[in-house]
């Protein structure tokens, strides 16, 4: 790998690829405890509707195997666990052990766990057999991955033929007015909220910057097709502030 290839972005900064992993890890270690509260506050609770829409698009049913990648505090896992039932399996995977611990405690407190496995894993090198999962979801996680193409290829490998990948991620607003409002909110209000509630404005500054550096709807769709996903499409949610990408492996 050349020097140029090793460089990547961390928000608006250019850093070494290895350094990015550590920096992202440090962000999530810092916000893990207040992650759910901040999600509700920052999105005015709308993240629940985005996740609900994702589950509706997943085609999930009893007995299936699901990988909730970058699953964090387990919002999607909780629902998947009830839907697939005892004959199915949900793997909650996250690269960050702090997030995984918060997720595991939360799900156990909800009485869930019989069909859930917790795995600390890097999306770029998934430690699962080929053709193993029926559905893979990655919600608000892909933009933090250093090598997105490698991660998408890794997801493609572990997905069963006929299975589907759902990528829920911040994207590009479709209208200028919304874009301006969103920018003002992201760079002026969000870091202050982070400072007040989680006592950590830097992490939320990173959040705003990393969203701007993430590929837009069409680029991500092309990246998914590049690694082999078919019938790829995306749904803009809340005017494209968030987009759900869906692709199938055949």
């Amino acid at each position: 790998m050349s020097e140029q290839q090793k460089a990547t972005h961390f928000g608006y900064k250019t850093v070494d690829a290895e350094q990015k992993e550590q920096m992202v890890a440090s962000v999530f270690h810092s916000v893990a405890a207040k992650y759910d509260v901040m999600n509700d506050l920052m999105s005015f609770g709308i993240h629940r509707l985005w996740k609900r829409f994702t589950i509706d698009c997943s085609g999930i049913r009893k007995g299936q195997k699901v990988l909730d990648l970058a699953g964090g505090t387990g919002d999607l896992t909780a629902k998947f666990s009830r839907i697939v039932g005892d004959s199915g399996q949900v793997v909650l995977a996250d690269i960050n052990d702090s997030m995984l611990k918060v997720g595991r405690d939360k799900l156990r407190n909800k009485g869930l766990g019989n069909n859930i496995a917790y795995v600390q894993a890097n999306a770029e090198h998934l430690p699962f057999p080929d053709n193993y999962f029926d559905v893979i979801t990655i919600a608000f996680g892909l933009r933090n991955v250093t090598n997105k193409d490698q991660a998408l290829a890794s997801m493609f490998r572990v997905l069963k033929p006929g299975g589907r990948l759902l990528v829920l991620e911040f994207s590009k607003p479709q209208h200028e007015v919304m874009s301006k409002l969103y920018d003002f909110y992201s760079f002026n209000i969000l870091p202050r909220m982070g400072s007040l509630v989680a006592n950590d404005s830097d992490s939320y500054q990173y959040l705003a910057e990393s969203i701007r550096m993430h590929p837009d709807q069409e680029t991500l769709k092309a990246m998914m097709e590049e690694v082999g996903f078919e019938q790829t499409e995306y749904f803009n949610l809340t005017d494209g502030i968030v987009a759900l990408h869906r692709g199938f492996k055949f």
Binding site: R52, D56, I60, R82, I83, G85, T238
Partner: protein
């Protein structure tokens, strides 16, 4: 925004039903026969949703690609019929409700919906404290009684005005007299028909 409308509806239904389920412990027992089952409910001309039951809660989904255990189709105005477990089979026979799959599951669901006697005071007390909850409920009851009495009085006054002052409609006694007259006319007509039939018979023979 439109794509999030259905998640709002299904999310609200789910939250409301789960709240209802946890208000009384016996409801959690009643949900056990449904645990692990998937019911599809279609409201004709509106939408379809899937009810996925687990041991202590319900998940409502807009789409489910597996095979539901039972599928019920009914019109919007027939939704209330679901509350009456005893009459559910009768409604199915009458064709007011269309069912595919196991009817017992819908009877179990119906049993869950029955007896929604909510103790509002106990419910509110959890949020506001006993005294505020008691006062709110007492004033609520008084307000409700007052509104009902006023509505009944307004209805009486309107009836008096229409019958007595504006003479836009007849009173009950006048209506009864009119009905008697119609009945008498009907009898006379029948007698006339009889006589005509007898006369026609005579002329023919």
């Amino acid at each position: 925004m439109a794509s999030l409308l259905i998640p709002v509806v299904t999310g609200s239904l789910e939250a409301g039903f789960n709240r209802f389920l946890h208000l009384a412990p016996d409801r959690l027992k009643k949900v056990q026969p449904l645990a692990g089952k998937v019911l599809q409910l279609t409201v004709t001309g509106l939408s379809s949703c899937y009810l996925l039951f687990s041991k202590d809660r319900l998940d409502v989904m807009q789409s489910y690609e597996g095979q539901p255990d039972s599928h019920l189709t009914l019109s919007l105005d027939a939704l209330g019929l679901l509350k009456d477990k005893g009459l559910l089979m009768q409604y199915i026979r009458e064709g007011r409700i269309d069912l595919e799959g196991d009817p017992q599951l819908w009877q179990d669901f119906s049993a869950l919906l029955k007896d929604p006697q909510l103790d509002m005071e106990a419910l509110l007390a959890g949020y506001t404290g006993d005294v505020v909850a008691h006062l709110l409920c007492r004033h609520g009851r008084e307000l409700s009684t007052g509104v009902r009495n006023r509505l009944a009085a307004a209805r009486r006054h309107l009836g008096d005005y229409v019958l007595e002052e504006a003479r836009l409609a007849v009173g009950p006694l006048e209506l009864a007299d009119f009905c008697d007259q119609v009945a008498e006319l009907d009898k006379q007509l029948l007698r006339l028909q009889g006589r005509l039939a007898a006369l026609t018979d005579k002329v023919d023979h």
